[in-house]
């Protein structure tokens, strides 16, 4: 019962604040060309060394 009360008041609070207003509904932009993605699964190198972008950059800059 307490859970329901909390959920209701949170929803009412968001509504009163204007988060759930018509404008917020209209403000749905398309996130394309984004900066965040799901991480690719580890290729399983048990040594823990991964050739990340930063490592590659380092090698590039150090001209190994």
């Amino acid at each position: 019962m307490a859970k329901t009360d909390k959920k209701t008041s949170r929803r009412d609070f968001l509504k009163a604040a204007g988060v759930t207003g018509a404008a917020a509904g209209a403000a749905a932009v398309v996130l394309s060309g984004e900066t965040v993605k799901a991480a690719s699964p580890d290729t399983g190198n048990s040594a823990g060394y991964r050739e990340t972008k930063h490592v590659k950059t380092y090698y590039e800059l150090a001209r190994f």
Binding site: R11, A17, G18, T20, G25, A27, G33, V36, A38, S40
Partner: protein, 226 residues
Amino acid sequence: MTAVTVRDGTEQSAISGNDVSSSSTVDIPGEDVLRANLYGLLARMLTEPPGEQTHDILCGLDGEEDGTAIGTALASLGTVAARMPISAVEEEFTKLFYGFGAGGEIHPYASYYLTGFVYEKPLADLRHDLTEIGIEPTGHNNEPEDHMAFLCEVMHGLVTGTFGSGWDRAERARRQQDFFRKHMAPWADAFFADLEAADSAVLYMPLAALGRLFFAVEAEAFEMAA
């Protein structure tokens, strides 16, 4: 509850090709769809200046007053957008965040606000948590992950269930709260206040107001959820 399709065809390219179809539908409450919209809007606008599609959406907000502070900020965003060509917004964005040779006015990084320097411990802490959640940067730009745009996009994904699709409602709520409190709340208010007051800010002034107001609501709403 509203079933939300996490992505449509246009978003296909966005969040890496994998797992798009398998986690394509997550049930989230109506109010969360709208929270996601606001995080999405902030992410979009802080990543880069609005393109035509986004600019059109902003113009649609012109006049959408509803008597709330957030509604007013969105309406102002629309009013200003309707009176600014995209080229002017692009110039504003460059002046604000990059400058013309002398550096931008605003440095939207957690590390900068919390330590005075970029690429500091706040970024390291964030990277640890991102690894734990299982997300990473796409490399779309060369900004560090503690950029406000990136963080808003993470929140968008946590709210919609794009990230952590295997979590239940309670877990998803807890993760949002933890992430927001740890990586955004400590510095967001100062950042949005700076952006709102920036000399070069025109369209980004109501956007900053929106950010400040929305985050204040989020902070309080998380208290309620707890």
